[in-house]
Subunit: 714 residues, 2 copies
Amino acid sequence: MERYNDKYVIVYDFKNVDTETAEREVTVMIDDLETAGLLTEARAGYEQTLLVFVKAPRELLGKYVYRSRVKDWLYGIVQTHPGGTKDSVVDGDFEAEDLLSVYHLVNWPKDRGGAGITPGLGQWENVTSIFPLHNEAANQALLKHVSRRLFLTNEDLDRIRDLHGSKVAFYFAFIQTYLVCLAFPAVTGVLTWYLGGRYSLTYAILTCVWCTVTLEYWKVREVDLSIRWRVRNVASVKVNRPQFRWERIVVDGAGEPRHHFPRHKQVLRHLLQIPFIALSAALLGALIVAVFALEILLSESYTGGYPGVVEYVPTIMLALVLPRINGLLERVAEAITDYENHRTADHYEMSLTQKNFVLSIITNYLPILITAFVYVPFGDEIVPWLSAHTRSLLGQLGQRFLAEGEGSSHAVGGVVDATRLRDEVIALALTGQVSSFFEENVLPVAKRKLHAWYRTYRAPTTTMPTTDDVEPFAQEEARFLRSARDQATRTPYDVQEDIAEIVLQFGYLALFSPVWPLISIGFLVNNIVELRTDLLKIAMEHQRPAPVRSDGIGPWISSLDFLTWAGSLTTGAIVHLFGASSIGAGAWWALPITIFISEHVFMGFRSLVRYALQRVGSAHIRRERDERYALRARYLREMEAGEAEEQRRRGGGGAQLSVAEKERRKSVRIMGGEAFFTRQMEHGASTAAGLSLIRACRGVGAVGEYEDDKSHLD
Amino acid sequence: MERYNDKYVIVYDFKNVDTETAEREVTVMIDDLETAGLLTEARAGYEQTLLVFVKAPRELLGKYVYRSRVKDWLYGIVQTHPGGTKDSVVDGDFEAEDLLSVYHLVNWPKDRGGAGITPGLGQWENVTSIFPLHNEAANQALLKHVSRRLFLTNEDLDRIRDLHGSKVAFYFAFIQTYLVCLAFPAVTGVLTWYLGGRYSLTYAILTCVWCTVTLEYWKVREVDLSIRWRVRNVASVKVNRPQFRWERIVVDGAGEPRHHFPRHKQVLRHLLQIPFIALSAALLGALIVAVFALEILLSESYTGGYPGVVEYVPTIMLALVLPRINGLLERVAEAITDYENHRTADHYEMSLTQKNFVLSIITNYLPILITAFVYVPFGDEIVPWLSAHTRSLLGQLGQRFLAEGEGSSHAVGGVVDATRLRDEVIALALTGQVSSFFEENVLPVAKRKLHAWYRTYRAPTTTMPTTDDVEPFAQEEARFLRSARDQATRTPYDVQEDIAEIVLQFGYLALFSPVWPLISIGFLVNNIVELRTDLLKIAMEHQRPAPVRSDGIGPWISSLDFLTWAGSLTTGAIVHLFGASSIGAGAWWALPITIFISEHVFMGFRSLVRYALQRVGSAHIRRERDERYALRARYLREMEAGEAEEQRRRGGGGAQLSVAEKERRKSVRIMGGEAFFTRQMEHGASTAAGLSLIRACRGVGAVGEYEDDKSHLD
C-alpha cells in the first residue's frame, strides 16, 4: 500500500472564466510551482475543475523541513539546535511535518521560496482550495485504535498530531481532557438528582469548583502539550497573511526591513468589537425578547381560532428570521475582522471565530437567562401587563382575540414556575447537541451522496470522463484519482467550529448546571461519541486540513474564563431565587448579596487553584527547563574548568601576590594613587594586624597600650 | 579625589566572644578571603569591632564581571553574548556592576569561587554586616542633581542604578512614576473640593480610573526599565540562599546535580499564610474594635471624674499594646517565612515584607473601614446598645460612671456623622506620613548623634583610639577611616520598607479618596520631598546597600492590584452611603448593587486598559525584539544565501530535473513503487496536460472528444 503522505492537491475551477484566461492562469500556476522546485501532475476533477497534484522532491522537502526546524530554534520555540549544517536534508519526524513544508512551498510568497498560490485571493481567485490528500490507511488505523479505547493517551494524541498537525490535535486534547473531567459532575449530578436536590446549593458549588479546576488544569495541560509537540509560542514564527496591509516598511534595529502597521491603529480597530458586540447583543436580545413576549402572550391569552397553530407562529418566525440576522451579523463580523488587519492567518481566524461565538452565546443563553430572571419570577406581573398593553395597542383586533388579563387562569395561578426553566435548558442544550450532531455528521453525507448521484445522472453531458485508463497500473491510479476527486468536492475542515461547540456546552454547565443536574451525564455521553465522530468526520467528509501548528486553543481560553466567571454569578443567582436555603429566603433585595458572595468566593478559589497549579507546574515545563539548564551548564563548565585550575593554583600559595603586582602597588603608593590597600600587602599581614587589634582592645583597653602598629603599614 | 568604588567592609564584632574564638574566627575569615583572591586590610572599628576592608584585584574582578555577564546571557536575561573568551577581563559598565561582583566574591559559597562569608549565619554569627563603602562624591553629585530638577529622567534613574543597583533604582523609578501620575488626582481633587463636592461620584470614578491606569502603566514601565537595565527575569540566575534546606540532590535531565525541595511541599507551606493572615486579621481586628468601642463608650457616656484624661485611656492603651502585638505577629511571620524555605534571598525578603504589609494594612485601614461602614451609619444604634450592655456587665461600677443611654445627648442627636470619617482619614493618612518622615529621617540622625556623643564621652575607657596616625597620607586615611567606622555603625537599608510606605499611601488614595479629595495634593507634596530625602537617607543614615539586582518591585504589583480592586468596592460603597445621588437613595439594600456595578465597571475598564497597553507595548520591549530578530535574521540570511543561489540556478532552467533524478523516478515507476509522479516528468508536461484537459472539457464536453492524453504519461 502506498502512503500518499506528502501530496497536495490544488483545485482550479474554470467554470466562471473563459478558456483563454483559464489556460493562462494554469500555465502561470504550474510554472510557478515548478519554479519553486515542486513536481506537478495535472488531472481532471469533477465538473469544470482541474486538479494539480503537487509533490516536493525528497531533497527540496528535506531541506525545507530542516530550515523550518532551524527557524523554530532561532525564534526560541525549541531550545536545542537541530544540528546539521545549512545543507542538511532531513526526513520529517512525522507525516504532518513533511506536509506542512509542502504547504509552505505551495502557499508562501516567492521571496520566501514558495510558489505563492493563495486560493481565492487576487491572481488566484479561481483556485478554490489547496489541500493535502488524506492518508486513508493511517486514518483507518487511527479510527480503529480510538474506537477501541475510552481514554486517549498522550501517544494517541501524538498520532492525531502526526496526521493532522497540532492545531487539530489540540482540539482533541481539549475535548479529551474535558471529557475525563466531566465524569465528576456526571456522578455528582446523578447523586443530586437521586437525592431529589433541585437547585441544590451543594451541587452548584461543586460544579463551580469543577469548572475552575478543569479550566486551570487544561491551561497547564495545554502548555504541557505545546512543549511536547515543540510548538510553544509558535505564533511568533508565523508569516504575514497575504491580506495583511502594512502602512510602510520600517527598517528595524537589526537593519532588517519589516512590514509595519501602527500598533495604536490596530488597538483602535480592535476596539470596534465593543460597539459591534453591544449592538448585536441589543439586536438579537430585542428580537428574542419580542418573540418571547409574543409567545407568552399567545399561549396565555390567545382565544381566537387554531390555538395549536397560532402558538407556534412566533417560534417559527424566530427560526426563519434568526439565521438570516445571524448571517448578516456574521458578514459584518467578517468585515470588521478584515478591517482589523491581522498579521497572521491564525489571528484572523481566531478573531473571527470569537465574534461568531459571542453571537451564538447570545442566541443560546439569552432565552434561558430571560426565563430564569424575568419570566419565571415576574411572570405573574408581566403576563397581565403584556396582554393589557397589547390589547390597548391592537384595539379592536386585540379585543377579539385576547382574553381579559384578569380572567386568564395562567396569569393568576402558579403555572409560571421553575419547571419552565428546566424545560428551557433541556430543550436548548440537548436538542442543540442532537441537532448539531445531525448537522455535522448526517446532513453533509446525505448532501454529498445526493450531489454525487446528480453528477452521475448528468455525467454523459457535462462532466469529464475519469476512469478510462487502460495502462497496467491504471486500476490503482483510477482508484486514487477517484478518491482525490471526491476529496476535492468536500468542504475544508474548520477546527474552530468544533471547539466552539464544546465551549458552548461548557457554558451550559457553568451557567445553568443547578437547573437540571442530569445535564452533565448527557454531555458526557455526547462527548464520548463526539470525539470519535469528529475524527471520522475529518476523514470522511472534509478535505484534510493543512497541518498548521498552534500552541493551544488560543483565545478560547478567555471564553472559558469568561463563562466560568459568569457561571459564578448565574448559578449563585439561580440557587438564590429557586433554591431552598437562600439568604433572605430568596428575596430580591438579597440577590446582589448572594451574587457578590458567590463571585468573590469563586475568585478567591480561582486564585488559589492557579497559584497551586502554577507552582506544581507541568512535567514538560520542568523537562524543558532542565534541557535549557543542561545547555548552559555545559557552557559554564567549560569556562569554569580553566577558572578552577587557576583557583587551585592560587589556593596552594595562599593569596601570594605576584612580584609584578607587588611592585605595581608599591609604585601606586609612591605615586600618591590609591594607597590604602598597599599597607597589608604581604601574605598574612592583614591577619596579623587584625589579631593585634583585637588583642590591643582586649588586653588593657587603654589608649597608651595601642598604637596603629606600624609593622603592617608595609 | 579617590573613588572608593569597589571596596567592601566586613564588620566583625567580638563583644560577645572570648579573645581566643575571636582570633580563630578572624584568622579563618581573612584566610578565606585571601584564598578567594581578595585583598584585605584590617582596621579597628568603633567599640569592640574589627573592620576588614576587602577589595578585588583588577584582574580577578574583571574576570568575575565578565563571567557574570556570560551567565546572564546563558540564562536568557540578555539576548546578546558579551563577546570575548573565557579569559576576558572587563571593566564594569558602572560602579554597581563591579560592586556586585565583589559582593559575590565575599558572599558566595566557596564552590562558586566566593569566600563564603555570610553575616550572622552559622560560622559567621559574629560578622554583623558586609557592606560596600559609600561613594561620597557620587552621592553628593547625585543629590545635588536631583534637588535641582522636578522630574527624574531615565538617565537620572540610570545614575541611581549605577550607584545602588537596580533593586533600589526600581523603588525610585516607582515613586517617580507614581508622583507624576499623582498630578492628576491632585488637580481633580482640588477642583472637586473647590466645587464643594463631598463624596463626589465623579471624583470617585476618576480616581478609580486613575489608579487602574497608573498601575497598568507602571507595569509596562517596569518591563521597560528591566530591559533597559538588562535585568529582566534576573531572578532565575540568583543562587540559593545559604538557609535554603534542600531535601535531596536530584540529577536533572542535564546530568547536573541540583538541590531539590519538593514543589508540593513548598505550595503546602505557602498555604500556611492563609490561616496566619486570617488569625492576625481577627486578632488585630478584635483589638481595634474593642478599643474603638471603649473609646466611643467613654466619649459618649462617661460621667465620672477627669473626663479629659479617661477619654484617651483606650487610645494610649492601643498605642502601647499594638506595637507589641505587631512585633509578636512579625516574629511569627518571620518564623513562617523561614519555614517556607525560599530558594533565593529575594523571594524570602519579598515574602516576609508581604506578610508585614498585610499586618500594616489591617492596622492602618481597619479603623477607617469600621468608622465608614459601622460607626457612622449604625452609631445611633450601637452607642446606646453598647452603654446599656456595659452597664449591665459592670453592674454597680457601670451605674456610677456611665450615663443613662436614654439620657445621653450624643446617642440621640446627629453627632455621629460623616465628618468623623473625614477626620479619621486625615488623621491616619497625614499623621502617618509626617510621623514616618520623622521616624525615617529625624529620629535615626538624632539617635546616631546621641550615640556618637556617648561614645566620645566614654572613649577614654572603652573605645579604641582611631586618629593617631602621623604618616604623610595619614590625614587622608584618618578621614577615610572615620567615615568607614561611622558607616559601620549605621543600619542596613531596606528598600522594601520604603516601597511599603508608598504602596500604603496608594491604598489610602484607592480606598478612601472620595472622603477627602484634598488628600492627593498632600501626598504629591509629601512624595516630592520623600524621593529626595530617601536618597539622602541612603547616603547619610544607612550602610550602602549591596547593589543586588531585581527586575521590578516584585510582589508589590499584586498588592497594588489588590488595593485597586478593593478600592472599586470601598469607594463605591462610600459614595453610595455618604454621597448625594445614590441608587435607592443610599439605602442599605441597594449597597450590594452599587458595589456590584462599581466592581464590574472597574474590572471591565481594567481589561480594556491592559489590552490596549499590552498591544501598544513599550519601546524597550520592541527594541529587544528587534535585537533578537537581528540575530536570527543574520543567521537565516547565511543559510538562505546558499539557498537563493540554488533557486536562481533552478529558475534559469525551469524545473528541469537532473538526469539522475529522472532516471531514479523512472526506475521507481518500473519497480512498481510510487508511480504517480512519473507521468508528467518532462518540463512543461504538466502544463500541457492541464491545458489539454481544459480544452477537452470546454471544446465539446463529450466523452469521445477527450481521452487521457497518453502523450503526458511519459
